[in-house]
Symmetry: C2
Subunit: 376 residues, 2 copies
């Protein structure tokens, strides 16, 4: 039996940690801290939610006579986060206080306005983690593993408070990243909120489309619209809390769209050879080329290039598993992969990203074993 993939190491977070709000994020954080041996006190306005978080093992409900917490983590919905932070600063005058809301500027301003001298113990944060399901029932000690955790110190935050929040992130397996509140909000507008909206805008166009059109859908449409299957109420709250930065990115996108539409409308009337008509089309696709190339690769920094091996996989039980088994037998590590298939087809194409040096040997080995290797 192999070593556990994520054997816990020593942690530096000093307890007890009090977690206010025992939903998905709060309960997952409790589970991760408990697994590391840190005592956790849980609080929630809902007794039912609190009992559920206790029952999944996320911590012990806070009670009179508890030892004072060294750290309070506010994990409530964003629209009540600032009030909960202010209450925690007042109730626990020796504690560092942080929150995990996905918007930061609005909360930082409300905390600064209300905190007085204790505001130097507050440091905002945002773990880039979540899932489709919510509540403590979906909690997972590994929710934060490998995800960025943005730490957002205010101008008055004490260095030891910042360090405590960075340590918390690292102790649950996340990668701490320090940003200012405005920087954070601009960044998530760009890499999370606007992509979500673009997916929804494209997916919304599929309502009312003929089924024959949808039957032509390929991997491109599937990829572009995957995140469109998100919770409307949750996203309305997130977007409302970051309206300014999201609107700024969308206004720029709207300007690009208007230029594109002007060109298409001109072509629809005058034909593709009208002067200057196709230039805007090629310019937009070109700008997309350079933009997508800036997304960091698997290991951070510049995107790393892997070689690719594409294999036809019959749509029959066991075939994909057999492929992976045989790739494993060939001693090759799969760095990344994607599957393509269309409606009603009898085969799919599995594209395996592997180190460039093993592309040719792997193709030869798979060919030898009777797989149909295809050029992509």
């Amino acid at each position: 039996m192999p070593d556990h993939p994520l054997a816990p190491g020593p942690v530096t977070t000093r307890g007890p940690v009090r977690i206010v709000g025992s939903g998905l994020l709060g309960a997952s954080l409790g589970l991760a801290l408990r697994a590391a041996g840190v005592p956790v006190q849980l609080a929630d306005a809902s007794p039912t939610a609190l009992a559920l978080a206790r029952d999944v093992g996320a911590g012990t409900p806070a009670a009179d006579g508890d030892p004072e917490p060294a750290l309070v983590v506010v994990a409530t919905p964003p629209d009540v986060t600032a009030d909960a932070v202010l209450a925690a600063l007042a109730a626990h005058p020796g504690a560092v206080v942080t929150d995990v809301a996905s918007v930061k500027s609005v909360i930082a301003a409300e905390v600064e306005a209300g905190a007085g001298a204790g505001g130097d113990r507050y440091v905002g944060s945002h773990p880039m983690a979540g899932r489709e399901r919510s509540g403590a029932a979906a909690a997972d000690a590994d929710l934060f593993a490998g995800r960025p955790w943005v730490v957002v110190p205010g101008p008055r935050s004490r260095p030891d408070a910042v360090l405590a929040v960075r340590s918390l992130a690292a102790d649950v397996g996340a990668s701490p990243v320090t940003l200012g509140a405005a920087e954070h909000d601009d960044a998530v507008a760009l890499v999370s909120h606007v992509p979500q909206l673009a997916a929804s805008l494209v997916a919304a166009r599929l309502n009312g489309a003929p089924e024959a059109a949808l039957s032509l859908a390929g991997q491109g449409l599937r990829d572009v619209t995957r995140v469109a299957a998100s919770d409307p109420l949750l996203w309305a709250t997130i977007l409302a809390g970051n309206a300014g930065p999201v609107a700024a990115v969308l206004h720029a996108l709207q300007a690009d769209l208007a230029e594109l539409l002007a060109a298409l409308d001109r072509i629809a009337v005058d034909g593709p050879l009208a002067a200057g008509s196709t230039g805007p089309l090629a310019r937009l696709i070109g700008a997309g080329n350079t933009g997508v190339a800036r997304i960091p690769g698997k290991h951070g920094g510049a995107p790393r290039r892997y070689g690719e091996v594409s294999v036809l996989v019959p749509d029959a039980p066991g075939e994909l598993g057999r492929l992976f088994t045989e790739v494993g037998e060939a001693g090759v590590n799969i760095e990344d992969l994607r599957l393509e298939h269309s409606a009603g087809q009898r085969v799919g194409v599995a594209t395996l990203a592997v180190l460039p040096a093993v592309v040719e040997p792997l193709e030869a080995e798979l060919d030898r074993r009777g797989w149909r290797v295809v050029a992509r």
Copy 2:
């Protein structure tokens, strides 16, 4: 050694087939037909391209004294396709003629205007296949396997001509789908051209963004922008050839975007509690939910629900391969899968789609083998 995944069956296409244009599509079609024992005559305006297609085995360059073709397939760039179809109808008065261009209405109108009586031998078509590389050097006999191939009869097309084109599609492993020219053009605008443009519009916003923002990129941004890495010139030509239908979808999307931006701008000024401000946000996300649910699943028809098993995979050589090997050993077929990882992290999450009945046994087995199974 297993049977070949795609052992060739008997074909119904009657040769010789003449392929006009020996780029990626023409040469791939030639390879697939040759593999099925059908004689192929190749033609191309470029002697170099013709020689390359011959050298990869796609067919024999057409010559005086060749037997008359039963079927001519025009695989030239879209802007010269109609002229090539008209030339083929005139030169081969006994042949069925088709083309493989990705736009259909414009070409059908030009052919109808110029063909005279022979126009009843023309049937348009569009195999939904392609790849990033172009030219005969990237040709692949399996390019069409499992892809939809749209067959577009005109009002005058003879039934035997339609049957010949459907048979051609089936003989190279594609799934023939019959649509009218306008239906086809509307469909590809919706499921291919507009998603491409949405990806490019989002990716274009990443130019000039701070690296810290890009370091927060997760799987959502990667999925939405993947197709943004496409050839600008090729796409300018495709979009110009389908400008009307693409513009129609984009104008509707632009209206949704304007409504969304009005709500965000109102919230940015008046706050999220302004009357009626969050409604448009939730409405758009909700419309995206219902739209994305209409995309057919792997096997066609309504999306089929699989269960999912998510597993933490350390970012070390062999780990992903080991996971797939062990899933294979457990006798479980992987129906679909995706990988999530963020910049700089030391683990990723592999989510395997499997039949619902095997979710729990597989989770138990992987847990027993020391994998960290996570709830998603």
